[in-house]
Amino acid sequence: MKLTLILSAVALAASLQSAHAADKIRIATEGAYAPWNFSGPNGTLEGFEIDLANDLCKRMNRECEIVAQNWDGIIPSLTAGKYDAIMAGMSITPKREEVIAFSTPYAAAINSFAVLDDSDLAGLPMAGKPLSVDSEAAGPVLEEIAKLVGGKTVGVQGSTTASSFMEQYFKDAADVREYKTTEEHDFDLVSGRLDAVVANATVLAAAMEKEDMAGTKLAGPLFSGKVFGMIGIGLRKEDTALKADFDAAITAARADGTVKTLSEKWFKLDVSPQD
């Protein structure tokens, strides 16, 4: 009798807790993609997206909980209901849109090669200049790059737009290796296992400020285009009300310059979407 009482009390407490948790919006991030999202020195999550998420939640008048989740399973876990939204530097791509919905974009995605200073690839064309891979001018540049990276080993983070980009444009030329995180391919770039890596330019630039990445630099153009997409919040397709809330909050944050301010704080450049 006593036991049943205790058990039902526990069950009641548990159900109250889950009801309480349902009010919160649970936002997943990767926590290994500085300066977008990363674990700070004392283990708490920090970065552009953490600041932006807190700002958006304040605008929506909702309580939010930000959790770290491996990039690999970040979309399946969203559809499985482990959390309600993804803010992890995730580009809006047609393939992802088959599975999940996206909010209106809050940032543009710019990718680049990174190489060792003394690499053969250090002199890739159009260094530091923006290049949309969908533009007509891109054709000859991409061809020239394909020739230069021929036979080289290039690292990318798996399941990213950088890996789709390599697959789409340099699949036959380079040997592409996929890593779980960008930090891991950075290690292998420095150790010499890789000739180059491709990743989001802001992430690479931030990594290069660390001492371990001394002797590396960005090479070639700053790529943008359809394959990279814009960055938005990933949501379950059925959560249309949540999407409407986030859309309104992002539009407001873009309009009053919050996105721009946060972008300049974390990236030293404005990545807010231009449309």
Binding site: D72, G73, I75, P76, T79, K95, R96, E98, V99, G155, G158, S159, S163, R177, E178, Y179, K180, E184, F187, D188, S191, G192, R193
Partner: protein
């Protein structure tokens, strides 16, 4: 989610099968080199020399007591941090994820197998060894005729367990960019976002591999234990 999307399952199963050669290569390479190292370690453990025994004990303690993933990361990401190593003769090997994965698996399985071998050897009844010595058998003859055949039979069940564990452990090589069955699975999932179906296919491949291995080992066990089975003598009287 539709688990009965047969064309999708077939396509992905076939794509995953392309990882089998690498999975098997990693297994065979690490098991064979690991077995040699294990015999050496078991020899040290049984040598009766306290220093050699202590060395082998230390090795086994470290490699059994730490996760294989940690060992793999230390070998792959840890060692490459030292510029001295990157200039050394070992770098052409340690540069390649293939050799790093094989090395980690080999060192790890050697620690477990050494204890299995040692267990098999000490399980051989002492009386038999004494009797063989009394017959005047030399150490090698003793090992070949008395210890090895019995120890092999005694350790085979435990060793087949270890082989199965190695096959499954090769999945960790995917964490250092190897495209074996699990590595390909991760890539296919990132293309389709359908982890359930693809992991089920990958699991089925490991099941098939391990099923073949257990069959093979059971066959050997059967061969080696011929003298342990009661002889069936057809007398024709009692039937």
């Amino acid at each position: 989610m539709n688990l009965f999307d047969i064309p999708f399952l077939v396509d992905n199963f076939l794509a995953l099968c392309r990882g089998i050669p690498l999975t098997l290569q990693l297994t065979v390479l690490s098991v064979s080199s690991g077995a040699v190292l294990a015999m050496l370690l078991a020899g040290l453990r049984l040598s009766g020399n306290r220093v050699l025994d202590g060395l082998a004990r230390g090795y086994i303690f470290v490699f059994r007591g730490t996760p294989l993933l940690v060992q793999l990361y230390i070998i792959y990401y840890g060692l490459s941090q030292f510029p001295e190593l990157r200039r050394s003769f070992a770098w052409p090997f340690l540069r390649e994820p293939y050799w790093c994965a094989s090395l980690a698996l080999c060192l790890n399985t050697a620690a477990y197998s050494a204890e299995i071998i040692r267990g098999g050897v000490i399980a051989v009844p002492l009386g038999q060894i004494e009797a063989a010595k009394a017959y005047g058998m030399g150490r090698l003859t003793l090992l070949r005729r008395i210890i090895a055949p019995q120890a092999l039979r005694l350790m085979l069940p435990a060793y087949s367990n270890e082989l199965i564990l190695v096959v499954k452990s090769t999945a960790l090589a995917s964490t250092i960019t190897m495209m074996e069955v699990t590595g390909i699975a991760a890539k296919l999932i990132s293309a389709s976002y359908r982890p359930v179906e693809i992991f089920i296919c990958a699991g089925a491949i490991y099941l098939l591999l391990n099923f073949s291995i257990t069959r093979l080992l059971r066959f050997f066990e059967h061969r080696l234990s011929r003298d342990q089975r009661p002889h069936v003598v057809a007398t024709g009287e009692q039937a």
